[in-house]
């Protein structure tokens, strides 16, 4: 699927200053075009590679396959198949920016897909904005998003702000408390990285007004290889609720350590990674009742078909939070292009901003460039990580309390 250098296109590119990319794209779309060039730079090596390889890249590949199996994206009455240009950003933001610039100016891609992770998306956003490409980011969680999309109106996010996720879990706790199920003590832990810091800060702000006391509040570095002191202190604080705003390796580490130490709070919450297939793979029945960020509702034909196609192609289940959103974002992009009837970037951006799109996760629309809806809190129930908050169609009631850890 790799692209061969196309002389014609190079010549065309010579004539097109990068600032007026839209015009030649339009000409090509209607005259000589026989395919659509889609490009992305993503972390295939380095510390971000596992996250990108679980949540995002498999969905890029699946979408390209699905589109091409169906003959392509239809633009102006003609179906055009996708060609792919891919770069590895090596988990370095400078490398990501360079690769994105190359995709824009040298490869002249028609569609540009974003990298994985909040920091990387922040890094490439100005470049992509300058070139005008619509950018629907599947893994971009920050409290700065509402302010940023004002400046960069071509950027859309499938997930939400950090505060939204933290406030959502506090809302779940408030419900449990008013039902007399948990006491007012909460222990917090967070990874000392942008994501963990933002969520913990939002939780610290939201907990006291909801009537909760924070009895333990600990940060730990991202590469921590032993989290027993974090769990021991939370255990000593004797809280009914444990909230960890964590990243995948420490989500696994905290859960494992809690199990070993016999730390059994009534509510056990971890963040990124809880929705990953490896979480279930590692903890099996012990995953039951664990709350986490995200969640999904797999009870639709579209979702069931998506899961099957994902497993067939990638030999791995999608994660139960951002994966299906990543795929849905690509469907939005495709439908916006088809609706606009052109690959013109500005027209596509406008269509995305105002339209409602039919995707595997249901109808998707954006308000101020942030997707409306989605799942904020999920829980492992009967071997699946199901959305429990916000209350909307498909939301499951929270199971309470989390059963005590079993021996192994």
């Amino acid at each position: 699927m790799k692209v061969e250098k196309n002389r014609r296109r190079v010549v065309q590119a010579l004539g097109a200053a990068s600032a007026v990319m839209a015009a030649p794209a339009l000409v090509r779309a209607q005259a000589t075009r026989s395919s659509i060039k889609v490009g992305w730079a993503i972390s295939k090596t380095g510390p971000f590679a596992p996250g990108a390889g679980i949540t995002q890249l498999p969905n890029y590949l699946l979408w390209v396959k699905d589109v091409n199996d169906a003959g392509g994206i239809s633009v102006g009455g003609k179906k055009l198949p996708l060609e792919v240009v891919e770069y590895d950003d090596r988990s370095q933001s400078e490398e990501a920016v360079r690769a994105v610039e190359r995709l824009i100016t040298q490869d002249n891609v028609d569609i540009l897909l974003p990298p994985w992770g909040t920091g990387m998306n922040l890094a490439v956003a100005p470049t992509i904005n300058k070139a005008g490409y619509p950018m629907i980011a599947p893994t971009f969680v920050s409290d700065r998003v509402p302010e940023l999309v004002k400046r960069w109106n071509n950027i859309f996010v499938m997930l939400n702000t950090a505060a939204t996720y933290a406030e959502a879990v506090v809302a779940v706790l408030k419900d449990l408390r008013s039902g007399g199920k948990i006491n007012d003590s909460v222990a917090i832990a967070h990874v000392t990285d942008q994501f963990g810091v933002e969520l913990a800060a939002a939780a610290r702000k939201a907990l006291p007004p909801a009537g909760f006391k924070i009895v333990s509040d600990q940060g730990y570095p991202i590469s921590a290889q032993d989290l027993s002191s974090v769990i021991t202190e939370a255990q000593r604080a004797n809280a009914d609720t444990f909230l960890a705003f964590s990243y995948p390796p420490d989500t696994i580490g905290l859960t494992e350590t809690a199990r070993i130490k016999g730390f059994n709070p009534k509510v056990f919450y971890t963040a990124v990674g809880t929705a990953f297939p490896i979480f279930k793979g590692k903890f099996g029945a012990n995953a039951e009742g664990v709350l986490g960020i995200g969640g999904w509702n797999p009870d639709s034909d579209a979702m069931r078909a998506y899961i099957k196609r994902h497993v067939d192609l990638n030999k791995n289940e999608p994660d139960r939070w951002a994966s299906s959103c990543a795929y849905a974002g690509l469907q939005v992009l495709q439908q916006a292009i088809e609706k606009a009837g052109t690959l013109d970037k500005a027209a596509t951006v406008k269509t995305i901003a105002s339209g409602t799109f039919d995707t595997i996760v249901g109808p998707v629309r954006f308000a101020n460039n942030i997707r409306v809806g989605g799942w904020y809190v999920g829980q492992w129930q009967d071997g699946d990580f199901l959305g429990v908050y916000p209350s909307q169609a498909g939301a499951r009631p929270v199971r309470f309390p989390k059963p005590a850890w079993k021996a192994a």
Binding site: G53, Y220, V230, P248, I252, T257, F276, I278
Partner: protein, 290 residues
């Protein structure tokens, strides 16, 4: 009891660091190869253990034993093919360090690339011996205790090998001065190769052991290389007992700081201790000054 919990957690963590550093200490301290691909080899073994366990249900201790000859051959082959030419042409220790650094930097990407193709870049984890063990009222995972036990056992065994046996004496002679070692009839070429291979075996054993309790991914090798370097430089390059002591100190410092100050400062505490030791003893805790 908070202090006891912290001490036990620190010893267990330090044991893991010691285990991770043993092999590099042999390779760098004795065979004089600063092996930047060390962490990748360790992760490679972890990936194999993961694959053996998840695909075939082979218990990690069994995989560990099976990997010993494989790792030895692999290490020996690397040394003979890629590193020996560098040893031959280098006139000084410094020149060899630079050359081996560059060569093993390349090896790093080869090993990592093979892993990425084979298993992808995702997180790999499984559960084995993940049962709590009561240690003086503090609960510790059995697999972490096993790693601590192996670190101490291997550390003592290596110490005895180096201090009490003829071949160990030859290895120490090699570490002190390869040219003089040649003069007293030590087969430097063979011995250096086998020492490097032994270092590779230790890396593989460490990889299998840590895979039981750490979530690994194909691209995380550099974490282990860094940790191992800190440990052996702090303990004194080539001094295995020093490495074990340094590792335990680092583990204890991390755990005490996490318990009584702030878990966010563990890395800072680690490096502060490292710098403090080097300020007082530039050649490491048990190192001889050059």
């Amino acid at each position: 009891m908070a202090l006891l919990d912290a001490l036990i957690a620190g010893l267990v963590l330090g044991g893991m660091y010691a285990l991770v550093a043993l092999g590099l200490n042999l390779q760098y301290g004795v065979a004089r190869i600063l092996n930047l691909a060390y962490g990748e080899i360790l992760v490679g073994a972890a990936v194999l253990a993961w694959a053996a366990f998840t695909a075939r249900g082979i218990a990690p201790p069994l995989a560990l034993v099976a990997l010993i000859p494989l790792a030895a051959l692999f290490g020996l082959a690397i040394y003979r093919i890629a590193l020996e030419p560098l040893v031959k042409r280098s006139r000084t220790r410094a020149a060899l360090e630079t050359d081996s650094l560059l060569a093993t930097f390349g090896l790093l990407f080869v090993v990592q690339g093979v892993m990425l193709v084979a298993v992808g870049g995702g997180y790999l984890t499984y559960s084995y011996l993940a049962v709590p063990v009561d240690l003086l009222g503090s609960r510790v995972a059995a697999n972490r205790l096993l790693a601590l036990g192996c670190a101490l056992g291997l550390g003592i065994a290596l110490y005895l090998l180096l201090a009490r046996t003829r071949i160990g004496t030859a290895i120490r002679g090699l570490a002190v001065d390869p040219t003089a070692a040649l003069l007293v009839g030590i087969d430097v070429r063979r011995l250096a190769g086998w020492t490097f291979a032994l270092g590779t075996v230790l890396a593989a054993m460490a990889g299998v052991l840590v895979s039981m309790f750490l979530t690994v991914s194909a691209t995380m090798g550099v974490l282990f290389t860094m940790k191992a370097l800190i440990v052996i430089i702090m303990g004194g390059v080539g001094n295995l007992a020093g490495g074990v002591v340094a590792a335990l100190l680092l583990g204890l410092a991390e755990s005490l700081v996490a318990t009584f100050v702030d878990p966010a400062l563990t890395l800072a505490a680690n490096y502060a201790l490292f710098i403090a030791v080097l300020l007082v003893r530039p050649a490491g805790l048990f190192g001889r000054s050059a």
